[in-house]
């Protein structure tokens, strides 16, 4: 009697334990893909970075040779420097445009959702398409900007925007702002709308001016959102490739080689796969450091009242 009772509870319990394995079955395809196309490649990158790895022929162990070479590689450091410069300028430019836009489209008014949609449109097209579109607009003979500026009398003669570093850089920054500002605007908008209406009302009644309300109320309450927008903009900019490859092919005098572009050149143009892997590890380390900083920044934002 008792044993059979135990047995029935056992057999009743077993199907309950089974779903555990069934759960693993459901996530198996996702885990398989992530393992095969993400975890394995990351480990493989580390392994490759310790080798001299030509496209054809056997890879040769070289220890930290690639890393030592990296620290002596002037061109890698100029790529890092350029990427940092680009990241800072473009992030400032995006915020300078996106913040006023977010405030502009914050309140419900007639037509405001149409404005939001239109400003957001460039975000959904590819960076490659946007680069292609703007490289035509900036072309000296067949484009829009050069001839238009000449027609309006802003320049004497026709300006070739992509021929000099400064103007080419400015064109790319303008393109990226056009393409990304809508995205940052929406992120900032969620932060703005999360500020309770009563707080702004109370501040207004207390006699706070518009600027004071912005400085002492809006900005502190937006800390978390701004940190998020900042991080997204920074990580995106560090990985920039499409615009430099398509618009300037590395720019006048190869001055516009970003880090990803340099890794691409080393790995897939010169076929120094091992060295490319070492550079990739450096890039990966930089981005993981930024991601960790992101978590920390967001957490710091959480702790504030």
């Amino acid at each position: 009697m008792t044993t059979s009772g135990i047995q029935t509870t056992m057999s009743r319990r077993r199907p309950r334990r089974n779903p555990g394995w069934r759960g693993l079955l459901y996530i198996a395809p996702a885990m398989g893909l992530v393992t095969l196309f993400f975890v394995l490649p990351v480990l493989f990158t580390v392994w490759m970075s310790l080798h001299k790895w030509p496209l054809l022929g056997a890879p040769k162990w070289s220890g930290f040779g690639n890393y030592i070479r990296m620290f002596q590689d002037q061109r890698f450091f100029s790529a890092l420097g350029f990427t940092a410069y680009y990241t800072i300028i473009v992030t400032i430019a995006i915020f300078a445009v996106a913040f006023p836009l977010a405030i502009f489209v914050e309140k419900q008014r007639p037509l405001v959702s149409a404005y939001r949609t239109v400003i957001f449109l460039p975000v959904v097209v590819g960076l490659a398409s946007a680069s292609l579109l703007w490289v035509w607009l900036a072309n000296v003979d067949s484009g829009l900007f050069g001839p238009l500026f000449e027609m309006l009398g802003l320049t004497t003669g026709r300006l070739n925007l992509l021929a000099k570093f400064d103007t080419a850089f400015l064109t790319i920054v303008a393109m990226v702002v056009w393409k990304i500002a809508g995205f940052t605007m929406i992120i900032l908008l969620t932060g703005l709308q999360a500020i309770p209406q009563e707080l702004t009302e109370a501040a207004r009644i207390d006699g706070a001016r518009r600027w004071q309300r912005f400085r002492y109320l809006t900005l502190p309450l937006m800390r978390r959102t701004m940190a998020l927008a900042l991080i997204l903009s920074v990580t995106g900019s560090i990985l920039a490739f499409d615009q430099f490859y398509i618009m300037t092919s590395g720019g006048p005098q190869n001055k516009m080689i970003s880090v990803v572009y340099y890794i691409f050149n080393q790995s897939f143009v010169s076929f120094n796969l091992g060295y490319g892997a070492a550079l990739s590890i450096a890039l990966l380390a930089i981005l993981v450091a930024i991601s960790v900083m992101q978590l920390w920044l967001l957490k710091v934002g959480d702790e504030r009242p």
């Binding site: 394995w21 069934r22 759960g23 693993l24 459901y26 996530i27 395809p29 996702a30 885990m31 992530v34 095969l36 196309f37 993400f38 975890v39 394995l40 490649p41 990351v42 493989f44 990158t45 490759m48 502009f104 008014r109 037509l111 404005y115 239109v118 400003i119 449109l121 460039p122 959904v124 590819g126 960076l127 490659a128 292609l132 579109l133 703007w134 490289v135 035509w136 607009l137 072309n139 067949s142 829009l144 050069g146 027609m151 056009w178 929406i186 969620t190 990580t235 499409d242 490859y245 398509i246 890794i263 691409f264 796969l273 892997a277 990739s280 890039l283 990966l284 981005l287 993981v288 991601s291």
Partner: protein, 292 residues
Amino acid sequence: MTTSTKSSRRRHRARKVLWDRIAYHGIGLGTACFFLAPFAVSFLASFRPNSESGSPPLPPWPRSTISFDAYQALDTFGAGIWQHMVNSLVVSLGTVVVTVAVSVMAGYGFSRYRFPFKNVLFVLIIATLMIPFQSILTPLFIILARLGLNNSLFGLMLVYVTLQLPFSVFMMRNAFDAVPKEIEEAARIDGVRDLQLLVRVLLPLVMPGVATVSIFAFLNAWNEFFAALVLLSSNDNFTLPVLMSAVRAGRLGAINWGAVQAGVAVMVVPCLFVFLLLQRYYMRGLMAGAVK
């Protein structure tokens, strides 16, 4: 006396409101123009005949006749524009279908079952977001070659699916978490189980999540350039962005700008169409990502 000052003040205020409104919409329309103009100029210019396509777009619209010269010129590149559109479509739609299938299953598994290392595995999937895929392309290239998937659209699609997974699994787990357990229990009592339960009963309930996952998968796969550039080596397999980078590089030093404009239109119009059609689901995904 007092009534007249009151009414003048009211008139003054009404005028101020009117001016405010005019200023607001003036700025709004100006901004909208700035963001819309590049699309409009390029789109209009793509219908100019060959004789005009090399000249500046002032004005952007075709002056003599509307023509499809630019699109015909685009067709002479690579394996013909239809082939490359089909390539891009196959990769994008394949990415959508596989991403949805894999992430619905994974989301369901993570939401409803308990198994060893569940949290570790979930964090592992999400943590791949931290690592830029640009840094692992070389080994991906080699792994795909070992699997016999080098220069293949199927291989590229699998890579795109993997890149979509962190966001998609996260979205789908939240979607399943929001479905009350009672519905499932009721269905179970009725004798529906496992995959049937998932497909027949739960899938309709998480459709908004599926829509969000789909639209992001489509847009990202359609627009992706770097991985396609590295992983595809033969002309016939190029997706649209890779084809267009070849068009932009030009032939014998001459660039056919008409073909560039036409190519931009071909790449951009589907994105704008999909976005405008499914805007609600797109914004939901964006918010989920932002609030997370």
